[in-house]
């Protein structure tokens, strides 16, 4: 456990003018980009990662986490005004947010979403701060055999819970492992799949890959799908709204809904593979089912907004629990955060608290500040976002593509990077088209160095004796759990798809 000086020093590190600037900028960017349907938080993260190379580690990570936090607020804007969530996590917000807007209370709905979002986010950050260090201490007791088993479990959970098929999830994992193994092997420094290129000795860089696969492929797909009739359409229809104030009494009336949603969001966020969309939907569903008057849901009931927004925002902090304690990112946003850490020479995991305790507490301080910034920016600017995102898609998508190309050039310093981005985008498009989940691929790609080191150590420890796993009860339990999950999750997926 870090000492008090590390904790206080780390928290104070967040309070520099530079960090404050990037936190406010990140929150603002996150809110705007997530508000535009078709873009979203992940794309915002992928686009800005190249621009963080010049920043120091804490500033870069604080910037990225602020974008994630801003995204949870921004996604609700178009969900409420247009009935189309700007980002997937705000899908459940449309159920009551949009009906409320249709009643002429769009501003009020946006304020409900902002306040409950901040509550969920801040509460889960506090849980993260309280539990992360003790959990990391426990995680430190794990050896390479346990780490291998844990990662296998993480891959199983992610493959089983995201996408349409567990088999496709595992294929995406295999693809990620292979691409992640490009470069010098960690044991002997022998080049693998480098095709004689020294530039590939360090492996395939995450930034260009993520930018191509996560952002550019989606933007080009949206451009490709556009029809002549869509031209000039605004991405958003701004509806008139009056009587926008939300009183403390109105907020407190839904306190139990918000607390339950926070618990749901935090638990789901801590499980790799699930995410904000699941949390929002589940929380909304539970709240509706347990309500005495479920018929009021879907008609503009603030409880629906409280349930969805609190839960989907609570995921952001909780997602960092497996990331910081075990080094396992729970979703694409967290995976990109790992990428930012790695780019700056920091490896997330249980040792992070021992080796970079000050950085971790700096991150916690930045997260708390980002909540404040999120509230302030949202309070003053949500109405403005409604205007900003009414820009037509015919301007938004081409401009976003130019920004991505610029970012790519800045990362690599050469035009070859843009070509790599186009190739990555083509692979990403193929993955989307054939239904192979991105998150499984990216998580596997990012975890490959850590997993490979653990495998190398485990093989040396085992020395040919594979029964050694029986003498490691935690590893054995994790492996059994993986097998149980494969059996449990696969038929469910089949039934779901067949039923659809």
């Amino acid at each position: 456990m870090p000492d008090l000086a590390t904790v206080v020093g780390g928290l104070s590190d967040a309070f520099t003018l530079t960090n404050l600037f990037y936190i406010v900028l990140g929150v603002t960017l996150g809110q705007v980009i997530a508000a535009i349907p078709g873009l979203g938080t992940v794309m915002a993260l992928a686009i800005v990662i190249p621009f963080t190379l010049a920043l120091d580690t804490l500033t870069a990570v604080a910037f990225l986490i602020s974008i994630s936090k801003g995204g949870t607020v921004g996604g609700a804007v178009s969900a409420i005004l247009l009935n189309t969530p700007g980002s997937a996590e705000a899908a459940a917000t449309t159920f009551d947010g949009h009906p409320m807007a249709k009643k002429g209370q769009a501003g009020k709905a946006m304020k409900y979403s902002l306040y409950y979002s901040i509550f969920g986010d801040l509460s889960s950050d506090i849980v993260l701060i309280l539990v992360a260090a003790p959990l990391a201490t426990v995680a430190l007791q794990m050896g390479p055999i346990e780490i291998c088993a844990l990662m296998l479990l993480a891959f199983t959970v992610i493959s089983g819970l995201v996408g349409e098929s567990m088999i496709k999830g595992f294929i995406a994992v295999g693809f990620g492992l292979l691409l992640g193994s490009v470069g010098l092997d960690p044991g002997y420094g022998i080049p693998r799949f480098t095709f004689g290129s020294f530039e590939l000795y360090d492996g395939i860089p995450l930034g260009p890959l993520a930018l191509g696969m996560l952002a550019v492929s989606v933007i080009i797909r949206e451009i490709a799908k556009m029809k002549r009739a869509d031209a000039g359409d605004s991405t958003l229809e701004v509806l008139p709204s009056e009587n926008q104030r939300v009183t403390m009494k109105e907020l407190m009336a839904n306190r139990y809904v918000a607390i339950r949603a926070f618990v749901i969001g935090t638990v789901i966020g801590a499980i790799p593979g699930l995410g904000s969309s699941t949390a929002g939907m589940l929380s909304y569903s539970v709240t509706k089912q347990t309500a005495k008057d479920p018929e009021k849901f879907g008609t503009g009931d603030p409880r629906g907004i409280a349930a969805s927004e609190t839960a989907n925002s609570a995921v952001v902090g909780a997602n960092l629990i497996p990331l910081l304690t075990l080094g396992i990112p729970g979703n694409i946003g967290a995976a990109l955060l790992v990428g930012a850490f790695v780019i700056h020479g920091v490896q997330p995991g249980p040792l992070l608290f021992e080796q970079q305790g000050r950085l971790v507490y700096g991150l916690f301080g930045a997260m708390l500040l980002a909540n404040l910034a999120n509230l302030t920016v949202g309070q003053f600017c949500m109405r403005l976002w409604a205007k900003v995102i009414s820009a037509p898609a015919t301007v938004v998508y081409p401009s976003a593509l130019i920004v991505c190309s610029t970012g790519m050039y800045l990362i690599t310093g050469s035009s070859a990077g843009v070509l790599f981005m186009v190739a990555s985008a083509a692979v990403g498009f193929a993955m989307i088209s054939f239904g192979y989940p991105f998150v499984a691929f990216i998580v596997a790609f990012i975890l490959t160095p850590q997993l490979e080191s653990a495998i190398v150590q485990a093989v040396r420890i085992a020395d040919g004796d594979w029964w050694i796993v029986l003498r490691h009860p935690i590893a054995l339990a994790l492996l059994v759990l993986s097998v149980v999950l494969v059996i449990y999750l696969t038929p469910t997926k089949r039934q779901d798809v067949a039923a659809a």
Binding site: I167, I171, A224
Partner: protein, 150 residues
């Protein structure tokens, strides 16, 4: 594709993609890894171990997808595929223009082309966007942040 396609024996896109994945895994195991990861044989564990794990995952789950698939993916339409290819080619063209004429000209040409591809025909929107976006990016990165652009 409808639910009838789920019946065993029907060739679906998912089965085809599963077959391609399995063949990729097989190629890696029989040739690709040996050709691109040179080892002396004395390393323990071998640097080929991890790529082989990945290749086995592709082979096993590719076959599983061919045999057990219960999903039916539909490819995007030919129009969408064509337009996707067109935009990709335009991006590659932009690289060439940027290398020869600089970032601002390349980005302006690309942006104008893209806006026409998405059927934007309003002259004011076209002119303002084509001029303002590349110039703003250039001012921010090249002038303010001093990060070199092509």
């Amino acid at each position: 594709m409808n639910a009838g396609s789920f019946a065993g024996g029907v060739v679906t896109l998912d089965r085809i993609s599963g077959l391609l994945v399995a063949l990729a895994g097989l190629w890696l195991l029989t040739y690709g890894i040996d050709a691109h990861v040179k080892v002396t044989g004395f390393e323990s564990p071998s640097p080929q171990l991890f790529p082989r794990i990945g290749a086995w995952v592709l082979l096993v789950f590719g076959i599983a997808q061919v045999v057990l698939t219960r999903t039916a993916t539909a490819l995007p339409t030919r129009r969408v595929l064509g337009r996707y290819a067109l935009v990709s080619v335009m991006l590659i063209g932009m690289v060439w223009i940027m290398e020869h004429f600089g970032f601002v000209i390349g980005a302006m040409v690309m942006l104008g082309g893209l806006m026409l591809v998405v059927y934007e025909r309003r002259p004011l929107w076209l002119i303002v966007t084509v001029v303002a976006v590349p110039l703003s990016i250039w001012l921010i990165f090249e002038v303010l942040l001093e990060r070199p652009l092509p």
